[in-house]
């Protein structure tokens, strides 16, 4: 709904119809371009302000819109950016979290464009006002803005900002404390040592908060603090919090420790990791709650890479072995031990890891097996093909024949990866049969995936390979009794055409299309026409003129089915454009 000539651009804002008001907001930039900066400031901005107690979706659109860079130009320059601030300030006070978050994001964006002279007055004061509100929503928004205001504030204001932040950490409502805990990690990198130490008390208080939802945010703050503190301070300040959270009564807090573990190790350093963190990780791997074990087991490789090999063998591996037989299939499916192979080298992998891989490869739950196959690359690099293939193949074949089609689909996804690593010879021998049989799968999704997969493999192995191994299969397929399976041939042709040069398309692929274009089933003829249409851009013009157009014209005149005629016509028009 663009403003029509003669319409006042601001009419949309006062409409009774909410969808009209929403359109007004979404078209604000066009309105701005139409009326120019002066009128935009004098007439349109007041209209926008009137929308401030409107529905949430309008407010959300407004918050989003006003954060865009172009508005600086629409307003007539950076000196006017503050006009947007008061609107966004109101939006940051709103109840609805989505609107508030968007307003905070937009405010952050704009703040960078406010000239330094006016930043203190316009932006920093705004943040302080929000943080002193009687209501919890603005106080919550203020937390998210402190990291943006701080770098640009005067030293006096910086002190005030920190003070208001500390108050938020002790706010009576959990909502504000959560915002504070989330914001803390963004503020920490901005501070000098003295100010940082001021926040340590708040950091500790949040980590022992009554509310689980506040405590669990402490972990990421641990990482932020650790990155800025000395070794001794890490030991005295951060380590106790990590240890406490690792054995917190709430499984959600322990879960956070598990999922952030690699970052904790990175930030706390080798020394503390070796002495204190390893026991924590081991405990998490054995946690009573399956969700925690799942998070921890997905980090086994990531964490082990940062540890000494002996520690891994002594402490981590026994746990990994236990996890491979965990009751919960989710835990087993997230177990990431493949990444350990490079760490151990060929002999080490053979000795310690191979058994584990094979056990998981035989798991009764398909997702567990898929997980292993998906991460094979790290292992094959270390072990080489031969050993694996004898174990791998039966597993792959079994997954490819799984009753659940989604499992079959997943294993298909991995085939190009395997083809790449295992090489053409191996693929031809063992896997090509599989791929082609998927062309005959009873589920369409799988047949379609198979065409894409074969194309990707053809891209890796080359056209010659495709001509030798894939094309004959297409020939067979195109003669299938059931029309559904004949149809897939055409999809295969389109797919391969992406990787075939036009000469090869002409010589090897088009013959099928011609044959199927005279198939008794109209459905197939329609698809043939569509396929021709798709192929035309890839063919040489001369060929199009000499062969395609006559063929299409021929069909046009003779086919009885309306839809076939239609698609043939579309292809013909496309072909004629090439002239």
């Amino acid at each position: 709904m663009l403003p029509k000539k003669g319409d006042s651009p601001k009419e949309g804002a006062t409409s009774e119809d909410a969808s009209v008001r929403l359109t007004f907001v979404k078209n604000l930039s066009k309105t701005a371009e139409t009326v120019g900066p002066d009128r935009f400031r004098d007439e349109i901005i007041p209209e926008v302000k009137a929308l401030l107690d409107d529905d949430d979706d309008i407010l959300l659109a407004l918050a989003d819109e006003l954060g865009k860079d172009e508005y600086e130009t629409y307003l007539g320059g950076a000196q006017h950016n503050h006009l947007l601030l008061s609107i966004l300030e109101s939006l940051a006070k709103v109840e609805e979290t989505g609107v508030r978050d968007k307003a905070v994001a937009s405010l952050s964006k704009i703040s960078h464009r406010i000239p330094q002279e006016s930043c203190e007055q316009h932006f920093v004061e705004l943040v302080l006002r929000l943080s002193e509100s009687d209501w919890f929503s603005p106080r919550s928004s203020a937390c998210g803005l402190i990291s943006v205001a701080y770098p640009r504030a005067s030293p006096a204001s910086q002190t005030k900002l920190l003070l208001s932040f500390k108050r938020s950490c002790e706010d009576p409502t959990p909502i504000v404390r959560r915002s504070a805990a989330t914001a803390l990690k963004k503020i920490v990198p901005l501070l000098d040592k003295a100010s940082l130490l001021q926040l340590v008390e708040s950091f500790k208080a949040l980590s022992v908060d009554d509310q689980d939802s506040v405590r669990l945010l402490s972990i990421e703050n641990c990482v932020a603090f650790a990155e800025k503190l000395s070794e001794e301070e890490k030991n005295s300040v951060v380590k106790p919090v990590v240890l406490a959270c690792g054995s917190d009564k709430s499984w959600r807090v322990r879960y956070m420790v598990a999922s952030c573990f690699t970052q904790l190790v990175d930030s706390l350093g080798r020394q503390i990791t070796q002495t204190d963190l390893v026991p924590v990780f081991v405990k998490l791997l054995k946690d009573t709650e399956a969700e925690v074990r799942t998070a921890a087991s997905s980090k086994v490789s990531g964490v082990s890479k940062l540890l000494q090999k002996d520690t891994v063998i002594k402490d981590i591996l026994p746990c990994a072995r236990a996890l491979a037989t965990d009751d919960s299939s989710a835990v087993r499916a997230s177990l990431d031990v493949m990444g350990l192979a490079p760490l151990f080298g060929k002999d080490g992998t053979n000795e310690h890891l191979l058994e584990l891989f094979l056990q998981l490869l035989k798991d009764e739950t398909p997702e567990v097996r898929l997980n292993i196959i998906g991460k094979l690359s790290e292992v094959t690099q270390v072990l080489g093909l031969d050993q694996l293939s004898q174990h791998l193949l039966p597993a792959i074949m079994e997954l490819a024949e799984d009753r659940q089609w989604r499992v079959r689909s997943s294993i298909l996804e991995y085939i190009p990866l395997l083809a790449d690593q295992l090489g053409a010879e191996f693929f031809n021998e063992k896997l090509s049969v599989l791929c082609v049989s998927c062309l005959n799968d009873c589920v369409f999704s799988i047949r379609e995936s198979a065409t894409v997969i074969l194309k990707r493999i053809a891209a890796v192995f080359g056209v010659a390979w495709a001509k030798q191994y894939v094309v004959p299969k297409i020939v067979e397929q195109s003669k299938h009794r059931n029309y559904l399976y004949r149809t897939i041939t055409l999809t295969m042709v389109s797919s391969l055409a992406d990787v075939f040069p036009s000469s090869e398309i002409q010589s090897d692929l088009l013959p099928f299309v011609y044959t199927l274009a005279t198939d008794p089933i109209p459905n197939i003829r329609i698809n043939a026409a569509k396929t021709l249409n798709q192929l035309i851009p890839k063919l040489e013009t001369s060929y199009v003129l000499s062969d395609i157009i006559p063929f299409l014209t021929d069909k046009l005149l003779t086919d009885k089915d309306r839809d076939v005629l239609y698609f043939a016509n579309v292809a013909l028009q496309n072909a004629r454009k090439k002239q």
Binding site: D53, E95, S137, P174, I175, K249
Partner: protein, 414 residues
């Protein structure tokens, strides 16, 4: 928590704050004396839920017809109409060929004071979050606009009986006959099933959940009551699934025996005290106060329905034995309120022995209610109750009328 100290302090309180109550207000449309209040459609106006918000500034009243009326406290402590809105409409469930009633089963207010008050309302299947905004009206005055902000639906195969906010201000639980779901206020598309008592074989079904309630301060604790008179406390910290409850409270002693034993032990309401230290459960004949540290017997049993025991047969015949009475704590966790028949209600000293029986009736009413010993008027029941969070003002719902009573204090001009 030292229970002896609590009892001592409570009794001191009772000494200096006598439990004497007087009528303050009545709301609802007066019946035409000649009309029969049992005509079809008349039940639409019956109150089905009552709730004060965390400040006492608002009182929400839910009705069988799906309407919610919000009253606000004036300077003279009375309540006047603030706004009203249609919360739920009746729906037809095509899968089961049954109508989903619009009756509001429960209303709960957001636990933290906000410039835009928010409340959850629920019918049998759908929970909705509403927010009330004050806007400048057309003529310059303020008008109140109520907006449905979120709709939480599709997560309950059975009928929802309660909703309860978590003290974290972020999540809430909704409870039906067999399951409890945990929701995030911002996310309507997903809920976590944290309790599931559905048996593998539905033929073996013998117990349903009747009510549930989060702890007012601890974000990890909640209780739920069952039709077998059990109260289970679950801890969200322990594990993702709370099927393995942390504590189970059961009173094995209080037995009237006989045919009706099972029917009267079903718990109709369970609530934490506002200080979080005790739990009250309302079954058909009593209210029981539990110390969370003692699972095998209640701390106290408050009796007020002994006169019903000889009449259980009649009450069974007219289905009244299945009535679900609510109960409410007062703000300092010392007194309890619950309703009964003949428009009676009882204010009980939780840690003392005094029970104040009252009758919800307009002082100028021509037709007072008979004493239950003379004639048990089972159709006149006060099922729904609410107590102001900081003041001694109580709200009662009896069919289509709501009553507000206040405690008489020495400062009373009368």
């Amino acid at each position: 928590v030292n229970v002896e100290e609590v009892i001592a302090k409570a009794n001191e309180y009772y000494e200096s704050n006598a439990s004497e109550w007087e009528f303050s207000q009545m709301f609802g449309e007066e019946d035409d004396p000649s009309s029969d209040s049992d005509t079809t459609g008349a039940e639409d106006n019956w109150i089905s839920s009552l709730a004060f918000d965390s400040t006492g500034r608002f009182l929400a009243v839910g009705y069988n017809c799906g309407q919610v009326v919000v009253l606000t406290q004036q300077e003279d402590q009375t309540y006047q109409l603030y706004t009203e809105f249609k919360s739920h409409d009746s729906e037809f469930d095509f899968l089961t060929s049954m109508e989903i009633e619009e009756k509001i089963n429960q209303i709960k207010w957001f636990p933290y004071d906000s410039c835009i008050p928010a409340l959850l309302t629920t019918n049998d299947k759908t929970i909705k979050l509403f927010k009330m905004l004050e806007k400048e009206g057309a003529e310059g005055g303020t008008e109140v606009v109520v907006k449905p902000k979120k709709v939480f639906e599709g997560a309950h195969a059975y009928n929802i009986n309660s909703v309860s906010f978590n003290s974290d201000g972020e999540t809430f639980i909704s409870t039906d006959d067999l399951r409890i779901n945990l929701w995030n206020l911002d996310i309507t598309t997903e809920a976590f099933g944290i309790v599931d008592i559905k048996p593998e074989n539905m033929d073996e079904l013998s117990e349903v959940i009747t009510s549930s309630c989060f702890h007012p301060k601890s974000c990890n604790l909640f209780v739920y009551s069952t039709s077998k008179g059990m109260i289970r406390m679950a801890d969200l910290r322990n594990s993702a699934l709370c099927d393995r409850y942390a504590k189970e409270f059961e009173d094995t002693e209080s037995d009237i025996g006989g045919f009706f034993q099972e029917l009267v032990t079903t718990i109709s309401d369970v609530k934490f005290s506002p200080d979080g230290n005790f739990i009250v459960s309302r079954d058909y004949l009593t209210m029981k106060i539990w110390d969370p540290r003692v699972e095998n017997k209640p701390l106290r049993v408050v009796k007020f329905h002994d006169h019903l025991v000889p009449k259980l047969c009649d009450l069974y015949e007219n289905d009244s034995i299945f009535d679900k009475f609510e109960c409410s704590w007062n703000g300092n966790s010392y007194r309890l309120l619950t309703g009964s028949y003949n428009n009676n209600f009882y204010i009980c000293d939780a840690f003392g022995s005094h029970v104040t029986p009252m009758c919800a009736v307009k002082p100028t009413a021509q037709k007072p209610f008979a004493h239950p010993n003379q004639h048990l008027e089972a159709s006149q029941k006060v099922l729904h109750t609410a107590w102001h969070p900081t003041q001694d003002i109580i709200a009662l719902g009896a069919k289509d009328f709501g009553y507000l009573y206040v405690r008489k204090t020495e400062n009373d001009p009368k």
